[in-house]
Amino acid sequence: MTSLHSNTLFHWSTDDCLCWFLRGLAAVAGTIVIVIVTFLIMEALPVLQRIGLLRFFTDPSWHPAEGFYNLTPMLWGTLFAMAGSVLIATPLGILSAVFCHYYAPVSLGRLYRRLIELLAGIPSVVYGFWGLVVLVPMIGEIHPPGPSLLAGILILTIMILPTIALMADASLANVPQQYLRGAAALGLPRWATIRGVVFPAAKSGLFTGVILETGRAIGETMAILMVCGNVVQTPSSLLDPVRTLTANIALEMAYALGDHRAALFVSGLVLMAMIVALAIAAEWISRGRIYG
């Protein structure tokens, strides 16, 4: 059997040069993650060697000045904030995309899409600022103190909504027209078509959207720092203040020295681990999807 895959053999001058040049660029792009992780590990190493990884999960509290480094409450904080916001933002975002495609008149749909695009780019400080002066006092009126998991979830929801809405929008746009026509020809009404045909057909795009928004929810920093209350504790209710891992880094990094600083790099590593887990989950889901 002849494998014909080396067709560029005789075109060293152009094709192969280009290919190797591109490989070089791709190698740069591909190595960034490794470099990042390496640096995180290097910076975290002193404290990891001294006290070991385990203590980051078993210490009584997070008081790095006094030598306690428990990250678990912040891990929970991150997870709860993420879960809450993804749970709210996903249906809202998908319904938004459905609105654009199948319910709104064309011009309104376009306007709405523009609005969402705009919101996708608004810096997190602006969201955080707004959350701090508008949202948090409102929650405080209902149940003090105000800065809380709930505030974090709501702000995160607003922030990640454009991500899922735009992704869903793109994947709905890719649903083959023939499905829609097929459904219409069977006399299926609009929502039935969307639920029964459009969603299954757009499934993988929607999943990708959820993965992306989850990533953003985990990684969001500035806004969360402004509205969450930042108390290191495992929240027992929605109205309890929490601190996320990202906020922890942003709050203390500038002030941290020695072990404290290294401990913050451990927070960074934990975040990276979550992101890698997410990427694996994404891969797993996309592999497990049944109806292409």
Binding site: H63, L132, V133, G140, P145, G229, A254
Partner: protein, 255 residues
């Protein structure tokens, strides 16, 4: 003095306390305008970073918004201004004063309701500063508390976040730089400064030294300063910048 700075040239990197950064930044700008060949780059971070960067030589000058600790005596420190740390409440809170014991009890979670200290029947929202901040250290030092004992409902970063948090929460108690609080109060932000140890919290009482919780704001260098660095430090300590210090709501030092 201005004649001397005309020939100066070079770049000064100043890093450290976020409290001081706007002030030094403004002083730097005026210094630059006096000697056009000089650049003063101010980066924020925190006091600890000011110390660390000055030590490692990453910065020419560090900014430290608290007293110099014993283990930092190797550095050369130059006070440029003073600042007080005042306790703030929401304007609508009927409580007019708190004793030191009450403050300690509130911050350690022994008192959790305003009615125990003469206020309305409402849960107290304790606003604390994040680990590592000088304001926190000064506050803990005065009340002889350990951060691990503090039971906070909200942890904040910079001063303005503290002011905005208390302004947005009727039953909150917090502590911030007095200058900041005074300015915001005058701008109609619904907060009020509490007396501490029977002394009114104001820049005035910080200036005359009667207010008990105050801190010097330092700039530090690793070695005995020379040349441009000396010129800048001298300038930052001179009377010529007192208007800037007042503008940034700090208290100039009376030599």
């Amino acid at each position: 003095q201005t004649t001397g700075t005309n020939q100066l040239s070079g770049k000064l990197v100043v890093t450290g306390a976020s409290t001081l950064a706007p002030l030094i930044s403004e002083i730097g700008k005026r210094f630059e305008s006096l000697s056009p060949n000089v650049r003063v780059d101010v980066q924020t971070g925190g006091s600890s970073r000011g110390v660390a960067d000055a030590r490692q030589g990453l910065a020419d000058i560090g900014m430290v918004s608290r007293a110099i600790k014993d283990e930092e005596k190797d550095l050369h420190a130059f006070p440029v201004a003073r600042d007080g740390v005042g306790i703030i409440l929401h304007k609508d809170n009927p409580v007019q004063s708190l004793t030191d014991e009450q403050v300690i009890a509130i911050y350690t979670g022994k008192i959790t309701n305003w009615k125990d200290v003469g206020g309305k029947d409402a849960a107290i929202t304790v606003v604390n500063k994040a680990e590592g901040r000088s304001t926190l250290e000064v506050f803990l030092h005065y009340f002889k508390l350990k951060n691990a004992d503090v039971k906070a409902q909200v942890v904040i970063g910079d001063n303005e976040q503290g002011v905005k948090t208390v302004a947005g929460s009727r039953h909150a108690i917090g502590y911030v730089s007095i200058g900041t609080a005074e300015y915001d109060e005058s701008q109609g932000v619904p907060i009020k400064l509490l007396q501490t140890g029977g002394v009114t919290a104001s820049t005035e009482t910080v200036r005359n030294g009667t207010f008990p919780i105050s801190r010097p704001l330092h700039i530090v260098t690793r070695t005995q300063p020379a040349g441009l660095t000396t010129a800048f430090i001298d300038y930052a300590q001179s009377k010529a910048v007192h208007d800037i210090i007042a503008q940034q709501y700090f208290v100039p030092l009376v030599n």
